[in-house]
Structure formats: C-alpha cells, structure tokens
Symmetry: C3
C-alpha cells in the first residue's frame, strides 16, 4: 500500500535555485483567500446546506474529467453511475467507486490526479494512495465524513477560505437559491453571473419557449427585437441587484457581427417564430455578442466569452446520456476576424471589459496576446478546461506574457462544478504562477520584489479588479 503524500514543493521547477524562489513566492500567496469569479457549482448546495450523498455522487458522477477518461479506456458510462438522459442512475455507488479506484493509475500525469489527491489528503485526511486495494477504505472514510457537520457545503466553503464564489445562471433562473442564501443570514458571498445562451443562441434546445419565458419573467413584449433587448436590460438589472458583476457567453465560435436595425428585426422574427437555419442562428448569436458588449458598456457588467468547442460530438452518447458528458471537443478558432465587428464598436470603450477564453492555445501568442495588448476593452482569461493544468498554465504564461504582459490578464478562475476541487485548483494555479515567476527571476528578467507583487496580483488583485469584486 503506497503512501499518499503531497510534497510541499510540488509543481515547482526542479532546479534548486529556481525552486527556492518559487517556494518563497508561493509562501506569500498560499493562504490568500480564494476569489472564484466564474464556475458552475450549484447554489442550492449553499442554500439548503444538506450533506453530499456519497463518494461516487460527489466525486465521480458530476466530474466529466473523471468519467471521460474511464470511458476512453473502455469503461461504459452506465457502470459509472452516469444516469441516462432524463432518468436516474441505478448503479451501486460503492461499485462505481471500486471501478474508479482500480483505474486510478489512468490519471497519472493529469490534473485530475492532482486535484483528487488534494481532496483526499486535505479534505478527507487520507494517507494511502487510491487503488483497488484501498478502494473500500476510501469509500468508507469519505462516506462517513460526508455525514459530519463540518463537511456540509457552508462549512467547507468557510474552511476553504473562499471570499467570493460565483455561480452561473440563465436569465430564466429565479435566483431563488441565491435569495435564500441572502435571507439565511449566512455570511458566505455567493454571486450569480448572467449566462443568456439559452435566449441568445437559436440552436439551444427549446429556444423559442425560452424566449417566451424570458418575456414572462421580465414582463416585456418579446415579440419585437427591441422588446427582447429591453428584457435583457430588465433581467440584467435583476441579476445585478442580486450581486452579479459579470455575464458569460458560451459560443461555438467567437464570430460577431453588427446588423442594421431592420435586418435584426427580421432575423429576430425568423429565429423566434420559424424554423431556424444554421446561418440565421450564427448571425443572431454573432449580433447578440455585439449587443451584449453594448449592454456591458452601459451597465458595467464584465463580459466573458468562452468560444470554440464542438459540443456533443458523440451522438449515440448524447442520445443515451445527454449533454456535458465529456464529449465536447475543442476546435481551432480565429479571434482576429471574428471579434472585429464587436471590437470596431466597443474595443476602445473604457467602460467595457471583455474577458476571452480559448481551448486553441495556438491563439495565445498569435491572436489573443496581440489583441489584449492593444484593445483597452480586452483581457485574457486564465487557461480554460483542458488547459487548466500545470503545463497548460505554463504554456499560457510563456506564450502570452511577452506580448500582453501580466496586467492584461485577470487571475485564475476554476470554472468547475466539482466544489471540493476548488482549493486544489487554485493551489495548482498559484504554484504554476510561482513557478513561472521564479523562472523569470532566476533568469534575471524581473526582480524578486517585482515577482512578489505580480504573484499577489495574479492571485488576488487582478481578479478582484477585473470582476469588480
């Protein structure tokens, strides 16, 4: 039985001189509060504060990083407890856990391994490595602890030293859980973000009903485009009143456009009443991104754009299990032409902050850093999704910093629904930044005093400023 250890110098460069610098830099930021300005945790957890169900429900079934890897090497999703679309899992959680534990070696070299080991070690106090032999021990320890009061969502939130945690909701969401958290008197700061994809993307499932619901929830006449825009204004104001400081937009590509008023009105009529063509859907999405930038300039909400993913690439899997099952695959993107219409209008506006995320790392040095190093409105989000890893982060800093500097970036965000992994992910980011900065210091490109300042900014200062937190 191998010991589970987390070395204090993990993720630091091996060279002893550089490592010593990294360690000093990290030590100054390691215990800063966590600012999590973008993610997908469920506000109901913090509203209800109920215990999490069991180890499989907590750590495997909601984590597409975990089950996609198991599936890719031959484990059927059914046997991992992934429920069929619209149904419920019938798998025994302990059996699921054993399947996972016996294949834990598959995660060697991946960030999931780093995050999970952190959770095992620090949250659950486990001290032997997970494998087939320790599977039941793990299950029993975690399952028992989940029932204790200090493992309830609010207690973990506090223990994790989270200063702000942002969730993501659709305009149709009532924000009842956020309201309930506020009413409860609990001090945890949980914010929402305005994610209007279901009413801006005509290809999202149930789009036309969503538009009608959007009219109902805002009391606007959404049969016209101007009424629809007014509904956005109204709903954004409601989200802001509930604490939101940001919007988020997940698009298949970063295409933007700006259509004349009559053309938009006609397009709006087509996509809200007729059969939606792919080209109309694309035009509407593209026009709405530009509109959303305008609304952000108006009301001051920070705008986030996550673009460039082929969603639901595996149709038979989608038919059986639905969306978000690890079948979303990145594609190459071109920001330079795609964002031009939006930037032509809003790129120089000091009131707008637009944060860009990508999974196509070729754009870091070629497009994103040059764009963010020019336009006042643009900032670079941290490495996203598959790139949210030690080497992914190192490549991002190395590719972007020389052109865009540090101050066109916005710190880290975890973008996760795996609540327990949040501190682990921020810890990886802090270590990765310390490692990168240590190299710059060791190569005498910046002073260590400067690196200390930057490390603090990357961990705390820039994210609070960019997201107005």
């Amino acid at each position: 039985m191998a010991a589970l250890t987390l070395h204090p110098d993990r993720l630091f460069p091996p060279d002893e001189a550089t490592r010593a610098i990294a360690r000093r830099l990290y030590d100054r930021i390691a215990s800063l509060p966590i600012i999590s300005p973008h993610g997908h945790t469920n506000p109901a957890w913090f509203a209800g504060n109920e215990p999490f169900e069991n180890p499989a429900e907590l750590l495997i079934i909601p984590d597409h990083y975990v089950f996609r890897m198991l599936m890719s090497t031959g484990v059927p999703l059914e046997s991992l407890g992934i429920p069929p679309a619209g149904g419920r899992s019938t798998a025994d959680p302990r059996a699921v856990w054993r399947l996972f534990a016996a294949r834990y070696h598959l995660f060697r070299g991946t960030p999931s391994r780093l995050w999970l080991d952190w959770v095992f070690y620090y949250v659950f106090g486990l001290r032997s490595r997970l494998d087939a032999a320790t599977a039941d021990h793990y299950y029993d320890v975690i399952d028992t602890r989940l029932k204790a009061p200090e493992f309830r969502p609010r207690a973990l939130f506090e223990q994790f030293n989270i200063e702000v945690l942002t969730t993501t909701e659709s305009p149709l969401d009532t924000l009842e859980h956020h309201a309930s958290i506020r009413r409860s008197g609990w001090g945890g700061r949980i914010l929402t973000a305005y994610r209007p994809d279901n009413v801006t993307n005509p290809e999202s499932p149930g789009f036309q009903e969503a538009i009608r619901a959007f009219g109902a929830v805002t009391g606007q006449d959404v049969t016209t485009f101007s009424g629809y825009m007014q509904a956005h204004r109204v709903r954004r104001a409601f989200f802001r009143a509930m604490g939101a400081t940001s919007t988020d937009h997940g698009h298949p590509d970063p295409f933007t456009t700006w259509l004349p008023a009559e053309a938009v009105e006609a397009l709006y009529r087509r996509v809200t009443t007729g059969t939606v063509t792919p080209e109309d859907a694309r035009l509407f999405r593209g026009h709405m991104l530009t509109e959303m930038a305008g609304l952000s300039a108006e009301d001051g909400m920070v705008m986030q754009l996550h673009a460039g993913v082929f969603r639901n690439h595996n149709p038979s899997l989608f038919a059986r299990f639905g969306a978000d099952k690890g079948a979303d695959i990145p594609v190459a993107v071109d920001f330079v032409h795609a964002l031009k219409p939006l930037l032509d209008q809003w790129g120089n506006d000091p009131r707008l902050t637009l944060i860009l995320f990508t999974l196509d790392e070729t754009t870091f040095s070629r497009e994103l850093a040059p764009l963010a190093g020019h336009y006042p409105a643009l900032r670079l989000g941290p490495p996203w999704w598959f790139l949210d890893s030690p080497d992914g982060m190192a490549r991002f800093r190395a590719a972007a910093t020389e052109t865009a500097g540090f101050y066109n970036t916005v710190g880290f965000n975890d973008d996760t629904r795996a609540f327990l992994s949040i501190p682990a992910r921020h810890d990886v980011a802090r270590r990765a930044d310390a490692a990168y900065l240590a190299r710059l210091v060791a190569e005498h490109r910046i002073g260590e005093d400067e690196a200390e300042e930057i490390a603090h900014d990357l961990t705390y200062g820039l994210v609070k400023k960019a997201y107005q937190l």
Copy 2:
C-alpha cells in the same frame, strides 16, 4: 580529429536531481526488447539475408532525412547518388560519402545526427567524429564490416534485440518474402501490415489497374462495390494468416464520410472506370476510411491513420526522381470535423482500435488528446516523422498527457526504412520518455514507483497491447 562519444546521460534533463531520476528510469527500460509495430524496412532483406551494398547505399541514398537536408543547402540530389525516376544511380558511392561527411555539421541539433552517431558508434565501432577528414576512414570501416556475417540483416536483427518488426505492404503484394522468412526456419518475427492506399485512393498512380489486380489476386468480382469490399475481406484474411495484426492508411487529410449504398456504388463505378475528379477521389477515400474501421471492428485488425501531408510538393524534383524524395510537407489538419462520420459509427465500438498520427502538433492538445480521452476506439500514435525527435517527443507528452493520460497512447514506433537506425530511434524515445517522467517525479506529480511502471508500459506494455503482439 574530434572524438565521437555518446554520453550515457544524453537527452536527460541537465538539472542534476531530475537527471538522476531519468537515469534510474532509463536503466530499467534500456535493454527491453524492441517492439517495432510500424515501419518500412524491406522484408526481402530478411528473406535473402544478403549483405548491404556499401555505406552510401545503406545510410544516405534511402534516408530522405539525410539527403533532403543536404539538398536544402545546395547539394544536387544527383551528386548524392539518388537515382533518377526509373533509372539507376551512376554516382560513385565513396564520392557520395565524402559529400555527406564534409557537410555532417548541417545535422547538428537534428535527430539524424543522434541516430547516425549511434549507428557509427555502436554498430560500426567508430570513435572519431565524422567530417571531411575522417570521411574515408568511415567509408572503409563501414564498407569492410558490411561484408562480415555479423552485419547481415538477420544477424543485426538479433543483435538489436528486436522482438517484433512490422513492415508495410500493399494488398497486391504477394508477401512472398514474408513467406520465405517463415519457411526458412529463422526465428526472427517479421510481420506485415495491410496498407491498401493504392486500392482505396483513386488518385494514387495506376489506381484502376490496381483495382483489376486486386480482383485477380483475391478472386473477387471487383466491378461492383460489394465485390470490392469482399476482396478487402479476403485479402485482409490472407494478411492476418501471414501474421498481420494491423492496417495502415496514409491520406492527404483525415476526412471521413459515410455514403448511402447506392451513392457508393455509383461513386465506385466512376472512380474505377472513368476520369477521376478530385472531389470523387476525396469522397471515396473518406468513405473507405469508415469502411476500413468497420472491417477492423469485424476482424480485429488495429487501424492506423497517417494523415496531413502534401506529397511531392516539388514537381520538378518529382519529375526527375519520383516520390519519397524529401519533398513531402505537412499541412494543418482538423480531426474534429473530419473524423466525425467515422466516429459516429465506430468511435464507441470496443472492438476497434484506431491509432492517429499527425504532423500538425497544434492538434495534440486541442483535438487529439480530447478525442482520445473520450472515444474508446481512439489511441494516439507516437510523434511522427519530423516530430520523431527529442524536443518533438517532449512537446507531444507535455501537450497530450494532461488531457489523454499515458494509457491512451501506444508506445513508440520508428516508422523507418533505415534499418540500422531502429535501435537508435527506440533509444531516443526511451530517453525522451524517461526525461519527461523524471520531470513529473521531480515536480512531485507522480511517484517514482509509478514512473517506473509507466516507463515500462510506454516502452513495452502499451505497444504490445495496442497492436496485439
């Protein structure tokens, strides 16, 4: 006269702590048998077991890495002994060797230098560096040794500790050399692989005659598409009976499609009887990749796809010397859309293993690792061709591992027709993997015990499993 030395720590990271780990990991895999599951050596060498002709014929004329570099800096191919298309070289092999030796500095920093130095040192026992001054000494030593029995192909095969060596043959090949090797009683395991490009790519030279020959060799009526598919089944069975476990497909791009039966029948008639249009050729190739995946699911042969090369980019060179003369240039590829039709049908099938190779390393993190980290049927081949180098391998592991892990990869293959370089290439790969793993250990991302296991798997376990060897 500079000494030729091969440092025992070559290709390991310079940092002493990391290097020590790399050395320990390497020591455990250095002498494992070579599994070479894909390459282009000539089975006639092992059937006939005749001595190799002379140093130039052995090391320069068949090695496009070598002569392309010399050509790029101004040496005409004629003077290097490259024979004209359909003709014979008239160059004096010693003169060729001298030209090469005087320009050996051009290979500094390239893998050819590493492979050649290994061959010079270990195979021929040379101890001074190759240059103009040592050219004749080299020529004489190598030429003399080639005449000795221990430098015949079978003896080298054994000396190299090769457990399996796979060649690549067309369906029209009689496999007579493979049969002859079997009949000879010699114990060397030489397998073939089924490479049907000349009967699946309507743009390959002599395609329509090849189809007719395909009908003749299989006894099938290839005037219909179903007869043609039956011919594949028959020929694949013959290859399997001769030991083949894999197929290989070299396509200009990874485009796949799936056409309705009548459309395929009509398309087949057009490409086999009329003038072939580029679009028809593309459709047929794309459809046939999907068909081949189906046949692999049926008969269990591992499928390899090498896509994304602009072949014969230099038309005047092609006219004078023919194909495979260093004028093949990689192009950007998109696997996400291209493979979807094939994956829609076979991506989740546990009977299929499809191994992907690319020369566009931007796809490692963006497309290939996410695809292989999801679809049960997909595996990532090792860095191919120009990327088959220490830094190319390091970039592959760094870009792919964090998303796909180690266990969606299939170990190394040398893909070479330069027989003598095979151990050198595998040695570079083992060192590169040891170096990468040592970094993960030094950064405390995995334990050294885990790294040992992975190193063994990357060298031996994964390749045997993926290729069923």
Copy 3:
C-alpha cells in the same frame, strides 16, 4: 528606490551546469560586431546627425510596443504624445514620460522591459529602476545626455559596434539620405533595401499615383506590364548601386500565383486604371511575389517575405492616428499551398535566397522547417515582431532546428525603428542562442566545440552569408 541592475547571467538557464556553458558560449560572441540586415531606422538620422529631441520623442512616441501596452490598459494615445494623423503632437514630453514611468511595471515579463533597461543602463548610465518616483530623474538625465555629441546618431552607431545597418525604402524613395551619408565621408555602413509594396500591392493607399511616380522616377512606360517590370529592373539596379543587397515584401498573406502573360497584362491594366477589387489586388500581389523571386534570381538580391498580419485592425484608431499604431494583429497562415507557385518556379534555383518570416509560430515545425529543410532557395528568418523575445526565440529554435537545422536560418535581425534598442535586441538574441545551445550541450546532443562554432555562425557568419554583406 529600487536599483537598476543588469545581471551578467540574464536570460541564461537557471540550472548551474547549463548556465556555465551558456556563459562560456555567450562570452565568445558578446562583443562581435552587430550586423543588422533588416530594419526601419531613418537614414536621415545618420545623414543629418542631429541630436534626438527628447526622451519621449526618442523612446515612447516611435515605439509601438511601448504605447500599445499603455493604451491596452487604458491610457489614451493622445496623452502619450502620439500625433493625430497628418498633425503634430501637442503633449508635453515630460508629462508623457511621467505617464510612462508610472506604468513601467506593465512591461514586466516583456522584451520591451529588457530592451529599455539595457538602454537606460548602458546608454544613459542610469542606476535606479524607472517608476513614478524616478521619472523626472530619468527625464533630466536622458534629456541632458541627448544634447551631448556622443549621443548623436553617428556616435551611437559607432559606440554600438554596428558593422552594417540596413534601412528599408520604397522604390519611389530618392535615397538622398543614403547618398548624403556616402558623400559625407563618414565610415558607417548604412544600406538600403528595396521594399516595393506601394507599387506591388494595389490596395496600398495611393497605389495608382505611386505607379505613375514609379514610371517617372525610372523613365519607363508603366502603362504596360512589361514596362512596369522594366521599371523594377531599373530601380533595383539603382538600389543595388547604392549598396542594397536585399528586397523586402510585406504582404497580408504569403499567397503567390503565376498568371499567363495576357492575363497579367489585363490584370495590370485593371489595377492601375480602374477600381481595384480585393480579388484582383490579391492576384496581383501573388503574381508579383513570383515575379520578384525571378528578378532576385536574375540580379542576386536576397528576397525577404514578411506575411500574415491584419493591418490597422482598429478603424477608429486608424482614423485618428493613422498606420503603425500597434493595431496590427497576426493571423494564421498557410505557407505550404501559398508559396507553391513561387517555389514551383524558383524553389530549386541556386541563385535565389528567399527568407521567410512569420507571426504564426504553429508554422515553425509544421511548415517552415520542412520547407526550408528541403528547398535550396528557402531560409528561415529569425522570430519576428511579437516573437522577438527570449521565450519566442527559444520556441523558434526548439521547433525549427530538429527539422531544418541551424544552417537554413540566417542569424538575427532587429527589424526595428527604435535605434537605441538595436544593441539590446541583438544582445537578447545572442543570449537566447547561447541558452539554447547550452541546453543541447548539457543534454549531450552536440559538443561544446560545435556549439561555439554554431554560436558564431548564428551571430555573424550566417547573416553575412545570407545577405551577402
């Protein structure tokens, strides 16, 4: 007040063993003369030898790296003294300097910081770090020194140990400043380069008037394409007579084509007399690149191609300030298909040297190294523009060397209009090359004796050879 120091080991790898090698390699090349074969300094400086105006005019207003970063974080260009298009700046230079100084931390991690610190330290003898507190001290010191004779352009040229400095001029330029430098008897070697974009790109502003002026300055009848080609021959001869050894071509993409004579004649008539369509402009540019390769094969001038930038991406900025204001953004390029028509004709011609530059680093390993490692006419230019940085250079060498070697590259060029930064930029390049070579030595891939030879070639030998200097 922090001290300004330039560590002697800056930019060398932190690992002590590798660093020691890098230091030894660097020491042998550190004081070699500077060969600057491509750039944008103003020959009038050296003709007139007048003092530079003030710190802001010298170091901020002409440096788009500097003001783009300031603008990207919210500083209006007006306040930085950038003059409106066709107008003059009214900003107080000291106020400009203070704005810059207070935001100098924005440049941490960027090459601008390295270049500027070098200038502050070595040229102006400053010993405290630039920030808000030291702004006035800096301004006063620099402003005072600029008035001294040893800070005049020619004195700096000599002090910088520049052996050759090449500027870039249009065919319409009279080269009067170059003539004046020659007549002056001053020994500094300032050459021009032939940059015909304003008469080869129908989309360049004032193209048709430029064509008429081209006829006038060459005495050729440019109403026909053959007369126009003759004008190029005449003007190239004039440039050569004035010392030019190279041409330079800045194109939106590397597209080339070769049109039949009648088609070119008709196309020429359209673009020189009518309304220019984008497609006609593209065809003419593409044809002219191939023609220019032919002229270079004829007259021996080295040809440089800088392609793949979306110029003037920010239209409102362009309207207010004009071109070259930091709003040029790189785009993805495809050299493999784009250059084929040119290479089909000239790629194997030993008389042509075509040097390629890119901002799309994905092409380094995928396209450029394979092309340059094959075609005798091709060479790889050093990392360009945003990639002209320590990590950019490291990625270039790592991506290109294993396929193209060192000897298909052409040494460093600074490509700058920031005269004072030239030695700093060359110093960064020398250190980056020493660092890369040191790694190869430390990994036992080449001998240190070989690395010394290569370092000399990369700094001095290859650039003199490629540019015939």
